[in-house]
């Protein structure tokens, strides 16, 4: 019953980072040479943010649905791991923003009495599968 599936691409994040980078770049052009320094710095930073970070984040995001628990692991610097017993889950949603729809991605959100947890940017098919699986396992847990 062990099933590990890597989560799909974080394209929205990438697009967002691109926007932020270009917005920052506009403020740099004061004196010809000195003014271009911050632009360059921002560009390098944007390159890192756009080119490297999403890939790393994507590779680090792991989820695993076991018969009795959901296990979430994520983060590059702040590595965090969260365990949620299925018996505590109250309901499950899938969500899709406009940008996500463009790329055929969805987010699965499940709620405990203490608040929501999410698995972001799964492909819509996988997300539906994950949602149904969590719902079904939760029901089984409740019947025990």
């Amino acid at each position: 019953m062990w099933r590990i599936t890597g989560s799909l691409n974080m394209l929205p994040l990438l697009v967002g980072a691109g926007f932020a980078g270009s917005a920052l770049a506009r403020f740099g052009d004061a004196s010809p040479f000195l003014g271009s320094l911050p632009v360059l710095a921002v560009l390098v930073l944007a390159g890192v943010v756009v080119g490297v970070v999403p890939g790393l984040r994507w590779r680090r995001w792991r989820y695993e649905i076991r018969p009795d628990e959901v296990d979430l692991q994520r983060g590059i610097f702040w590595i965090s791991r969260t365990l949620v017993p299925l018996a505590r889950i109250q309901h499950v949603d899938t969500r899709q923003g406009p940008l996500q729809r463009q790329f055929g991605l969805s987010t699965v959100v499940f709620y405990t009495a203490a608040g929501p947890n999410q698995i972001p940017e799964l492909s819509t098919l996988v997300a539906a599968e994950v949602r149904d699986r969590i719902a079904e396992l939760t029901r089984e847990q409740d019947e025990l």
Binding site: D68, F77, I79, S80, T82, L83, P85, T112, A113
Partner: protein, 475 residues
């Protein structure tokens, strides 16, 4: 028992006063404007009084009508409330969804010996009760309560009423007020008040005052600051007395009953099965005397003090265990607390001194720019902040005993939280690069509380034990 019942007639009065208050607050401003513009002739005053009379009469009529329209009934497994004069409104609540039944006695209700009954269900708003019956006499209130609570669990008939677990004595009440640490709240109140005064004192007056006092402003500060503190302290005591006079905690079967209040008597019921976690907090003023207060986190239960209900406002630390064993046995543990590893002390001290360090750096820069040695004084900030960090390190810890998780930490006061493992909604381990370098991690567990959750957190415990903790607390 399923017949429709009316409220006690005093409900008319309560309703009337409520409407009156609402209307008057809307009318006061136009009324005053009218009075001012016309001058105080006999005519306008008479007109004003007449208007007031009419409004009062209307309010009384409205009170009567809404009393006549309000009925309630308890049928086999639901509570039904009908309300509304013009717009009829009927509300049905399944009894198994009722979280708590509270009775409150305001000043009017007290004068007539009746009770307001509030019924809360899970998911209701925090500020407004889901159903509120303005006035019921004692018998009716008791019957209603029995009927609703009876449905939680079939109760043996021969129960002999709730047993009183503990009462707050007058001495304890005063001590609780004196050490409540609500001084901050009272102080901000005071600040608002003084600002209000400022608007009234003319600038001219203020200038003259300053002129006369300016030479010895230090004196003024020396007098004003302690006076303000004293006043704030007295206000805090008064607030505590208002809220907690006659605090009584009793238990019957699976229910806790809490009675408290000086002017407004409150009676709350907490089913034991709804308590998610118990917090033992020792404020900075209380810890030196070995005192603490207890509160319960409970799901879907809103009261004025955040979302957690006070279980007992003042209790000597060494009696806590005994008290918990009597009141909420599921939470009664005070096991040895596992301290944090030695290497996390450095992180705690560093975290606490960051603000002081920033000030120091700024001070050093100023020293270089202005050359005045006075800036070196900023270095004096370091020791107290470091001590604070050390205190936080010393008091942080966790324990796992059987089915219960216990977490202790300090912000200002020291707080210990006990939560049974089956109440934990999720567990997690977070670590950042600096923590990973020395194999430390932060452990977080969440319990349900109010409409959201509240977190139990231990910073910088050994990464290995954090992981074991997170995994072993699983189902």
């Amino acid at each position: 028992m399923s017949s429709e019942k009316h409220l006690h007639p005093v409900a008319m009065l309560v309703g009337a006063i409520k409407t009156l208050r609402r209307w008057v607050s809307g009318l006061v401003l136009p009324g005053i404007v009218l009075l001012m513009s016309q001058g105080f002739s006999l005519w306008t005053v008479a007109l004003f009084l007449l208007g007031l009379l009419v409004v009062a009469a209307l309010a009384a009529l409205w009170g009567f009508l809404s009393w006549r329209a309000t009925t309630y009934a308890v049928t086999d497994n639901s509570f039904r409330l009908r309300q509304g004069v013009l717009q009829k409104n009927e509300r049905t609540m399944p009894l198994e969804h009722v979280q708590s039944v509270d009775t409150v006695q305001g000043i009017i209700q007290r004068a007539f010996g009746v009770y307001e009954v509030r019924i809360e269900t899970a998911g209701g708003g925090v500020s407004e009760p889901d159903a509120s019956l303005a006035a019921l006499d004692r018998g009716a209130a008791q019957t209603l309560r029995r009927e609703i609570e009876g449905s939680y669990k079939a109760r043996p008939e021969e129960t002999t009423g709730p047993t009183v677990l503990r009462r707050l004595s007058t001495r304890e009440l005063l001590v609780a007020g004196a050490t409540s640490g609500q001084i901050g709240v009272a102080f901000s109140l005071l600040a608002v008040g003084s600002q209000f005064l400022d608007n009234f004192l003319s600038v001219d007056f203020a200038r003259r005052l300053v002129d006369t006092l300016a030479p010895n402003w230090l004196m003024v500060a020396l007098i004003l600051v302690p006076a303000g503190l004293l006043l704030a302290w007295l206000l805090a005591i008064a607030g505590t007395i208002l809220a907690y006079t006659g605090f009584t905690l009793s238990r019957e079967g699976d229910f806790l009953y809490i009675k408290r209040g000086l002017l407004e008597r409150r009676e709350a019921t907490i089913p034991l099965s709804r308590i998610q976690a118990v917090r033992i907090s020792e404020g900075i003023l209380r810890q030196p005397f070995g005192l603490s207060s207890l509160r319960a986190e409970s799901a879907g239960y809103g009261e004025d003090e955040g979302v957690s209900a006070t279980l007992f406002p003042l209790l000597p630390r060494d009696e806590v265990e005994e008290f918990l064993a009597g009141a909420v046995p599921e939470f009664a543990v005070v096991p040895a607390i596992e301290p944090l590893p030695r290497r996390s002390l450095r992180r705690y001290v560093f975290r606490a001194t960051v603000p002081a360090l920033l000030v120091c750096v700024a001070g050093l820069i100023c020293l270089m720019v202005f050359g005045s040695a006075l800036w070196l004084l900023s270095l004096l900030l370091l020791p107290p902040f470091a001590t604070y960090g050390w205190l936080r390190y010393r008091d942080a810890g966790w324990a796992l005993e059987g089915e219960r998780l216990l977490v202790r930490h300090r912000f200002l006061g020291r707080k210990t939280t006990v939560a049974p493992r089956r109440r934990l909604q999720s567990r997690g381990v977070v670590s950042n690069p600096f923590q990973r370098r020395v194999q430390l991690a932060t452990f977080v567990a969440e319990v349900a509380s109010g409409s959201g959750g509240s977190a139990l957190r231990v910073k910088d415990l050994d990464a290995g034990s954090a992981k074991t903790l997170a995994v072993s607390l699983g189902p």
